[in-house]
């Protein structure tokens, strides 16, 4: 991760560090260090995974590598008919097999899945970077280890659910419909599938339109694990496929990760049935830097907060709030640090910032950045040269931002940071909370009591103190306010998939 890279020049003398502001070397370049994709075999086309069989879809769509714009494969588009088939297969598997199976046995399937994923981790990581554009260093060191860990963690819950909720005997819900985004394709699949299955539900999963390949490879892992037919069904497609799944009367629960706009549409669609739902939606996290913070570490935290995964992170630290006395210093250091980021080929092991996931998303980022400039915020970009082909956006910051600017209020979902300042902790907290979102936040200070004051006052579901963008299957994740409903991960995440 970015934080580790930063430490590479840590042995330099204090004098040099002082002169340069920051103890890393600039102006150097790295020789290409491409990760091999020899292990990855991408089929020409993929069908839908329904009832343990590969079923043709109504149409086909292409999936491309956003770093090269080359077509990787064609995948099936599930229409209402195929979604219906998948829901029926999931219902059958629920009634005939999964519901009746002792938790201990269910868990053993999930343990198998976790182990198989560990064995094939590199293959998955490379495919993830090819289909989605994220740097291999992240898919290899963050996404895949967490994917396996999520299955391993939840596997162990399957026979212990009676201990999870005092005074209650929780029951599974039935068929869960799950719709996941393109920013962490396989990790989001794991976040959704592992708890649902551990809690005794069967699933119909809809991967994102632009990143279907790792979910389809995951289906192979389920086959290898001998998971009973129909326990997991995977239907690829775009928004219409997701809508068909959300509106299907045979689904007992909907879990969605994606934009707040779509989340609200789903909440409305479920109004009549009152179906159980969990929503992980957008965010506009505030990242507070106090004047007593370890500034160099904080700068690494800022970089990790907003440039991790090209800023395609719902909990990205996209609003930087710096205490006035250190604002100039922090911004100066941040700019220098941004110049050292390696932007380019996602499969290069040195790459820090990969490709923007799609042309559409690139357009959205450009639109919001243009709006920021038009509204009078001051933009600055680092000087990397971008590859000719593919979708790219340079790490960008905005200074002189007003609270009402769109770059402060709206989720950009790209490598774009809006910077504001504050004087007192109260002002910092007020600005941090002045948003309809409430997913995450960050605080940097050396003072423990200040951390607790600020993290308790911030209205958000995940707070990172002197760190940022850390995830773990044991740790509940989810938002306040318009950032969503319910939690994923940890003890609290189980509630999403149980009748308590």
């Amino acid at each position: 991760m970015a934080a580790e890279r930063a430490g590479s020049g840590g042995g330099r003398s204090r004098k040099v560090a002082k002169k340069r502001d920051h103890d890393f070397v600039t102006g150097t370049s790295y020789a290409p260090a491409p990760e091999s994709s020899a292990q990855v075999k991408i089929a020409k086309s993929y069908d839908l995974f329904i009832g343990g069989k590969w079923v043709k879809g109504s149409k086909r769509m292409k999936t491309i590598n956003p770093a090269t714009e080359k077509v990787l494969s064609e995948v099936a588009v599930a229409g209402p008919k195929e979604v219906d088939l998948a829901v029926k297969a999931a219902r059958k598997a629920y009634n005939n097999v999964w519901k009746k199976m002792p938790g201990r046995e269910r868990g053993k399937y999930l343990f198998r899945v976790a182990r198989l994923l560990q064995e094939r981790a590199r293959e998955f990581a490379v495919l993830e970077s090819m289909d989605g554009g994220k740097p291999i260093r992240e898919s290899r060191d963050v996404d895949l280890p967490l994917v396996a860990a999520h299955f391993f963690y939840h596997a162990g819950w399957a026979d212990k659910l009676d201990y999870a909720f005092p005074g209650r005997k929780p029951q599974s819900l039935g068929v869960a419909g799950q719709v996941i985004p393109w920013n962490f394709p396989l990790l989001m699949a794991a976040w959704k599938l592992a708890p649902a299955l551990a809690c005794g539900n069967t699933v119909v999963l809809k991967p994102a339109e632009t990143t279907p390949l790792t979910a389809l490879l995951l289906a192979q892992v389920f086959e290898e694990a001998g998971l009973p037919d129909g326990v997991v069904n995977i239907v690829t497609g775009a928004g219409a496929t997701g809508q068909a799944l959300v509106e299907h009367p045979g689904v007992d629960k909907i879990a969605f990760t994606g934009s707040t706009g779509v989340g609200k549409m789903i909440q409305r669609a479920l109004a009549k049935s009152g179906k159980k739902h969990t929503l992980e939606l957008g965010g506009k996290a505030a990242h507070l830097i106090f004047d007593d913070a370890p500034i160099n570490q904080a700068v690494e935290g800022i970089v990790n907060g907003i440039f991790f995964n090209q800023g395609h992170v719902c909990c990205a630290g996209s609003r930087l709030l710096v205490q006035e006395g250190v604002a100039d210093l922090v911004i100066r250091k941040l700019k220098r640090r941004m110049e050292t980021l390696v932007v380019g080929d996602p499969l290069d092991k040195n790459t820090d910032v990969g490709a923007i996931n799609s042309k559409e998303q690139l357009g959205r980022i450009k639109g919001l950045v243009a709006a920021g400039e038009k509204e009078g915020a001051c933009s600055w970009q680092s000087g990397q040269r971008l590859p000719g082909k593919g979708y790219w956006f340079k790490p960008t910051i905005f200074t002189d931002c007003a609270q009402s600017h769109r770059v402060v209020q709206e989720e950009i979902f790209g490598p774009v940071l809006a910077i504001q300042t504050f004087r007192t902790p109260e002002e910092g907290i007020e600005k941090a909370n002045n948003t309809p979102y409430g997913l995450s936040g960050g605080v940097w200070t050396d003072k423990g009591s200040k951390i607790f004051k600020v993290t308790s006052a911030m209205r958000a579901g995940v707070l990172w103190a002197n760190t940022y963008n850390k995830f773990d299957p044991t740790s509940p994740f989810g938002g306040y306010k318009e950032s969503g409903v319910g939690r994923e991960g940890g003890l609290h995440g189980l509630a999403a998939y149980l009748e308590i």
């Binding site: 549409m265 109004a271 009152g274 002197n466 509940p476 318009e482």
Partner: protein, 281 residues
């Protein structure tokens, strides 16, 4: 000549004060034999919005007060209820209960507040976790109040009202509660209990009126974080859920009956916050 009794004017309870409805409207409440009981304020959308402002203002301070203090204040509510139990029995009888049923309902309501008073410093421990993450971090999750909660109380009267108010309140939320339109008298008398129990003004606000008029503004209000609807009307529930989506409101629908005592009703209006701290020197 016998003394002429003093009748109570039944008003709303907003921000710790007893205003009349800004709309000037009322509806007549009559007893079993059709006799006049009271002119009840028919609260308006504007009254509800005013109450949300009061609730928002009060919520932060209430959430911050210690669990011990919140517990004592809920216990104080029980004390005040006990002291005025005869008055509640009388009003419940006016609203149609038998003497025995009225007495039972008041006693159950008092005990319910004692029960929830005790949850104040216990549910956070029960529903918190220290999470054994793989990296070198101290990581924990704990419940925090959702914020401002709007509630439509069950029609059943005092017990229904208390069963809605207590779990929302003990969780550190501020509420705006629409009382039963059929049995509003005990609701306003209950407001007097709250007012004399050290409950800070605005933490609980009570509006009388009709759900079909007020539910749409309750479910669509952008500064209300959650809605509890005690109703058997599926259409009303669907409408509330749909309108609640505009600000991703947590909409909880329960049958039109008093809620049983449960910490899970407290948890319906809690958010789990997870905090990460690095471990190191």
């Amino acid at each position: 000549m016998s003394r002429l009794s003093i009748n109570k004017t039944y008003k709303l309870y907003i921000g710790g004060k007893f205003p009349r409805t800004e709309s000037g409207r009322y509806y007549e409440l009559t007893g079993k034999k059709g006799e006049f009981l009271a002119n009840v304020s028919q609260g308006s959308k504007k009254d509800f919005r005013n109450a949300v402002v009061a609730a928002r203002k009060a919520q932060g301070g209430w959430a911050k007060s210690s669990a011990y203090l919140k517990g004592q204040i809920l216990y104080r509510v029980a004390e005040m209820l006990e002291g005025r139990s005869d008055q509640f029995v009388e009003e419940l009888r006016m609203e149609g209960r038998t003497a025995a049923a009225a007495r039972k309902e008041v006693e159950t309501s008092i005990d319910l507040f004692v029960h929830y008073a005790g949850w104040s410093d216990k549910y956070p421990a029960l529903f918190s976790s220290v999470n054994p993450v793989a990296s070198s971090h101290f990581n924990f999750s704990n419940p925090e109040p959702t914020g401002v909660v709007a509630a439509v109380a069950p029609m059943s009267g005092l017990l229904g009202l208390c069963s809605v108010v207590a779990p929302i309140m003990v969780g550190g939320n501020a509420s705006v509660v629409l009382a039963s339109s059929e049995r509003p008298l005990t609701a306003i008398t209950f407001a007097e209990v709250l007012n004399s129990s050290d409950v800070p003004g605005g933490v609980v606000n009570l509006v009388t009126g009709f759900a079909d008029e007020l539910l749409p503004v309750m479910s669509s209000h952008m500064d209300v974080n959650a809605l509890l609807l005690c109703s058997d009307d599926a259409k009303a529930a669907a409408g509330a859920r749909e309108q609640g989506a505009e600000n991703v409101k947590r909409v909880v629908v329960k049958p039109d009956a008093p809620l049983e005592e449960s910490p899970y009703h407290v948890m319906d209006f809690q958010e789990i916050k997870t905090t990460w701290h690095p471990v190191g020197v």
